[in-house]
């Protein structure tokens, strides 16, 4: 049952990720990203990381995608006239895609990690207590630093979105 669910959700996630890349409309891309993140949250549930699944839905699907949609609405982009691809960009694109495919192919063929059995290993990530223990003992300093980072990010966003009147135009 778990294997079936894994395949179901992974196909769903990959299909939605392809939707993000190949949709012409930015709003449809953002909604595909939302669905893809929901699929990844379901995979987290299959991996017994319940807190992370909920956090992913809250932070990404809730805040980040909403922010993306808000910015798309704010900027009101028109499709407009598209420039055709230049020759160099086509060559580089094909080369990069080939490199990517080769890397993935060799990863699937050669790379094989010894996988421990899921029944033998305890699901340590399932309980909130384990997170609290780690975050307040081993990772106490990173928690403080991340809190400070969020404060700096907030200040940075405020400064960035402020309008400066007497600033010479950089062209």
């Amino acid at each position: 049952m778990s294997a079936l669910l894994f395949h179901l959700f992974s196909v769903f996630t990959v299909a939605c990720a392809l939707g993000v890349v190949f949709n012409k409309n930015a709003v449809a891309s953002a909604l595909c990203l939302l669905l893809s993140l929901t699929g990844i949250a379901a995979l987290f549930v299959l991996l017994d990381a319940f807190l992370l699944a909920v956090l992913l839905v809250f932070v990404y699907a809730g805040a980040v995608v909403a922010l993306f949609l808000f910015i798309i609405m704010l900027l009101d982009m028109q499709g407009g006239n598209r420039k055709p691809f230049t020759k160099a960009s086509i060559i580089v694109g094909i080369a990069a895609a080939g490199l990517l495919f080769t890397g993935l192919y060799s990863f699937v063929i050669r790379g094989h990690v010894d996988s421990p059995s899921l029944a033998d290993t305890p699901a340590v990530g399932a309980s909130l207590r384990a997170y609290a223990e780690q975050l307040f003992t081993t990772y106490l300093l990173p928690v403080q630093i991340v809190g400070f980072l969020l404060l700096i990010a907030m200040l940075g966003v405020i400064v960035l979105s402020k309008k400066f009147e007497n600033l010479e135009d950089i062209k």
């Binding site: 778990s2 891309s29 290993t121």
Partner: protein, 119 residues
């Protein structure tokens, strides 16, 4: 005797190995998602969509971390994903503010028109 007993079951391909889920399945999925995100970053011209694909790559990496954490029975990968989520939230806020500031100044967010540093 049921009619199904006559079916040559041995002739059917064995899908049990294909359907078995282990650590490698999650790693393949993670790599595939990362590649799709990278393809989007290379292919798309809209800065916002490029940014969405970057987020996709970030989340693809977290899938591998959570899978490693689960299969090895350790907590560190999960805690690391916790921090990644926090940093990603801050990153999105700052990045979108930069994109809005860029749009305010240049009236476009298509990457081919943002070539002020070229030459």
């Amino acid at each position: 005797m049921s009619p199904f007993a006559l079916m040559p079951l041995a002739a059917l391909p064995d899908f049990s190995g294909f359907l078995r889920v282990d650590l490698n399945s999650y790693l393949y999925l993670s790599a595939l998602l990362f590649a799709i995100g990278f393809l989007g970053v290379l292919l798309r011209k809209n800065t916002l969509v490029i940014y969405m694909c970057l987020e996709l790559m970030l989340v693809a990496a977290t899938v591998a971390l959570v899978a490693f954490s689960r299969y090895n029975g350790t907590m560190d990968g999960n805690v690391f994903v916790f921090f990644i989520l926090t940093v990603a939230a801050a990153e999105v806020a700052v990045g979108l503010a930069i994109i809005v500031a860029l749009f305010r100044r240049r009236q476009t967010i298509q990457v081919e028109e943002l070539n002020a540093l070229k030459n």
